[in-house]
Symmetry: D2
Subunit: 333 residues, 4 copies
């Protein structure tokens, strides 16, 4: 950590800072520049509160050298992590596709879609039971009974299931769920993250709508710090000024995360664009860039989907997408 | 609602759409343009799912004419709302300042700050007991015991209190709190919003880091649709590419909200900038533009604040800020 | 075009609007809704000034149904355009790589890089002679003599050249340049666009730092409206809140542009990320998604590049990138 | 400047870097941390190319301590600058309002508006002769003859004039213009900035649509480095995801610029919002926060304005705005 002092800073306060840091086993090297004095903090600064230091009267700015996350950090865990979801390994060289309807609507709908996506090569079934909707007047999901249907579809197809949690109080309903999804709007619901950290169930952590990659990794760190290292990251588009797509698919997140973290990275082109006809090209690009997999919305009748219809593929479109994805994956090897 | 059809759309599907809309008591006017056909939907379209329509094969785009919120909408409630917080009216012409420490740290700290801000004219005491922190390793607040201290400070000073809730499961601890704050990161924690809608306690709803004003009003609608119309909106900066301030203080939100909603609007320059020396000028600007009040962080020893220190004012700086704010308020009348 | 009228609008003003539109051979269909009246404008509205209509007292909002561009619009030109740069066709199914140094620095540097990129498969040589630099104290390019060196390198290798123009007054120096680049900062330098519209030289138009895709196509329209239809679009990253990369590479722009325009699309991962080690994965993704080519910075000694060094590849890294790109292109076929 | 080295960096390359820096009279202090080595560069680093250093193999990151601008920097020029525009001092404690039509349309229109805004207290007349329009089919301004009309209006009213330049080749037409405006889209048209640096005519430099405050000051530095220190900064809204206003008015730019620069700061609420009814509240806020003045669009018939009509005030609305602005200015004193 680098601390830049104000010009004409008070010497006594500097001594207090030094003493306070030394209590935390941090030593200081002082560099006197022409226009400013700069302190180099030496030791394990990941636990040092940089906000506190920045608040001091004598300090102009603080710049971190080390990342503020440890368990999610590749520096301390050089090998890629593999998270096993109901027997399916995610990360570590394979490519896993999670597919299914935005919302679970009925047994028929779910089972039909589940069988179709399995036939096309999906390995995990996704489906929303608890649905975060912007409007209180919109369909809020089948909730507990939606999870029951997902478990039925799992029994039928053998596909493990991933579904979103919206509140700690619903956790009991997720007891048999193979992977619990934390949605973009809950990426910084820290109480929920802490609670999931006490479990061992894999967590698929979506990136917040306007979260930096570092904040996203800090949210992963919350879960991991609690003891649950089974975290999968999922990019689903960030908010920008562009309006042609619902969000902007930040595909650069893949190489950036590869460098800074060992966790698996899944890409969700359905939510990133909100437009079904852009899903296939983005899925192919995500496969090419080296993501660990995809999450794709598929519906047997997109026009009647109760939510997010415009971004869902038909089973036929999904099958076509998988063929192109597989062709690119073969070329990558 | 306006529905733009694709060129060469299927007539049978158009008839199905018409029938489905008529079931919902919506009638359709068809305009045949040169390059496209446009449908005008007439009736109460606020409950019509535009996503569903947009998903149809024959539809190119859907454009809303009406806003998707009703209870928060000035069109249906022309007078300004007044929300009473522990006897203090917020909205409706007055100007209310909520001040206090970012985090409650100790009885001494809180009581000293509470008495100081009261002396300078604050009418509501703010203080964080449950703290949302980006890092799991940072101080997470005094939690329940922090609320106890806030209630003590209330008894001492007579100031009603506002403090942030992070999870539904903590709600019992908030039984005597005068106003419950929903933080930016929880603006779209819909389960929490619904739960608060079942109460009558005033809710201070902060704008999400990258939320549009319309989404923010939809979150207010969640609370109001549940039966709790005591909602206060609080702007605290939005995320942009600029780095000189922590966020960008969207001061235009005041006139925009005035036009579209009847709810009171409070401005938080402390979180918007993250820099104590920018708080006074922004507070003065917020008073000048006609906001209903301010939320400001004050600490008796900012350099030792356990969180968000750099953005806290000293009691002396707060007093000076209040003088300037009052001068501008007097000029506005 | 859809015009939404205010409630209680003045009938006389509505008649004036109707008359004014009819002068422009636009007819109006009126839809009376419950809360608002909506006009549908029928005819060729691409020349109608929507700002003017929105300014009227009686108008609440105007929504365009048609895109405001014509020559760049796929609707009026269904086939993909092919722009020929010094004999090399760009667009129409092939894949063209433009590579070379950020700045032309010397004959030795340029020729060495040109021969290396040609050997690895690049078909067009890029190199900056006039350099837009944020700081007035930074190296501003070799200017005219840089173009002379590019022409020498062209003679040596046979590669056509593309280089950036910064001002109309430099146009004479570009007489023998095969493709003139308009940089992101000049995307809305409308006088320059108009001047380039009077020429027949192909123009590579980079997307502005915070331009929407529609604004970008409007800038292409400026050039095309002047008579020069040889426009190539180049995505180079947009500005967002994320700081891990210099910009955010908007890869979705490829399918969006494919749908709305017939112009060729080139992707520039070097400027999009500003980080050499992210260039290869993004180049591969761009090839996979179906772009018409790439623009990549290559330097024989990146550490000594006079500008933008951190984003340049070595010839060896470029060769490795080309191999991966070609593998994906083969799979795409 | 702080240079963070990679773990296991090559010692020989470090020696080369040290030698290269010493040539530039920069000395180095080395801090060996646990996980990284950090160099502190001591001396005048404003001319050191940080990109070049960041490009080195051994370097992980470079962090600037000093700002990269000098002439625009308050550190080197503590007093506020005053720029005199046709006899009217801008900056230094007064408050100057620049008002007039978006576009000059006719002698009658311009003279009527000029007399009206003068009567209400405006001290400088603005009016667009050369108009940057997104669409090539939109009205492009009266150009040279528009400047002639501005000069006539100046003669009539005595108000100095400010008008926008779009290209160096038009400079001759601006010989008698009191203040030359550089629009947001040209903020980084570096050749234009250099040319204006050779003159002594005051320059009103608008902030780019997505420019950071630092980049904006670097563009001011371009003009000042050329010898023209008469630069006025003008904030006109930045691009964000919010759509209720055309741009987001970054009012925090006032205190940030006050801290980092000595140049006068003018606020333009007309372009920032694009909505006439939001102009007054934002103008009042800008006066309250301590800006040096305003730029406001006024039109005698906004509904017929040839461009940007929706954001123009009528003379009556402008007069009302001025009364409120003056009331707040009186309170500020």
């Amino acid at each position: 950590m680098i601390v830049i002092l104000k010009q004409n800073h008070d010497q006594k306060q500097l001594e207090e800072l030094r003493a306070w840091l030394e209590e935390q086993e941090i030593s200081i090297q002082v560099n006197h520049g022409v226009h400013s004095t700069v302190l180099g903090l030496i030791g394990d600064t990941s636990q040092v509160d940089s906000d506190l230091i920045e608040a001091l009267d004598i300090v102009e700015a603080v710049k971190r050298v080390q990342e503020p996350y440890k368990k999610a950090n590749r520096k301390f865990h050089p090998q890629n992590s593999v998270v096993t979801v109901g027997g399916v390994p995610v990360g570590g060289g394979g490519f896993v596709v999670m597919a299914g309807p935005c919302s679970v609507e009925s047994r028929e709908q779910l089972c039909e879609v589940a069988q179709a996506v399995k036939a096309s090569g999906a390995q995990i079934l996704r489906g929303g039971a608890f649905k975060p909707r912007t409007s209180p007047y919109a369909f809020q999901g089948m909730r507990e009974s939606g999870i029951d249907l997902l478990l039925e579809a799992k029994k039928l197809t053998g596909l493990p299931i991933v579904t979103e949690i919206m509140d700690i109080s619903h956790l009991d309903s997720f007891a048999q769920v193979d992977c619990i999804q934390v949605g973009a709007r809950n990426m910084q619901n820290f109480e929920l993250l802490k609670e999931l950290g006490r479990s061992k169930t894999p967590v698929l952590l979506k990136r917040g709508l306007s979260s930096t990659i570092q904040e996203w990794l800090m949210s992963a760190e919350y879960i991991m710090a609690g003891g649950n290292e089974n975290v999968i990251l999922c990019e689903r588009g960030i908010r920008t000024f562009e309006t042609a797509t619902r969000n902007t698919f930040d595909i650069s997140a893949v190489p950036v995360l590869r460098e800074h973290s060992h966790l698996p990275v899944i890409m969700d082109p359905s939510h990133a664009t909100g437009v079904a006809r852009y899903v296939k090209p983005l899925a192919v690009a995500a496969a090419a860039i080296g993501a660990d997999g995809l999450m794709i919305e598929v519906h047997n009748n997109p026009a009647k989907a109760l939510c997010d219809g415009p971004q869902s593929l038909t089973p036929e479109q999904f099958d076509d997408t998988m063929r192109s994805v597989n062709a690119v994956l073969a070329a990558r090897r």
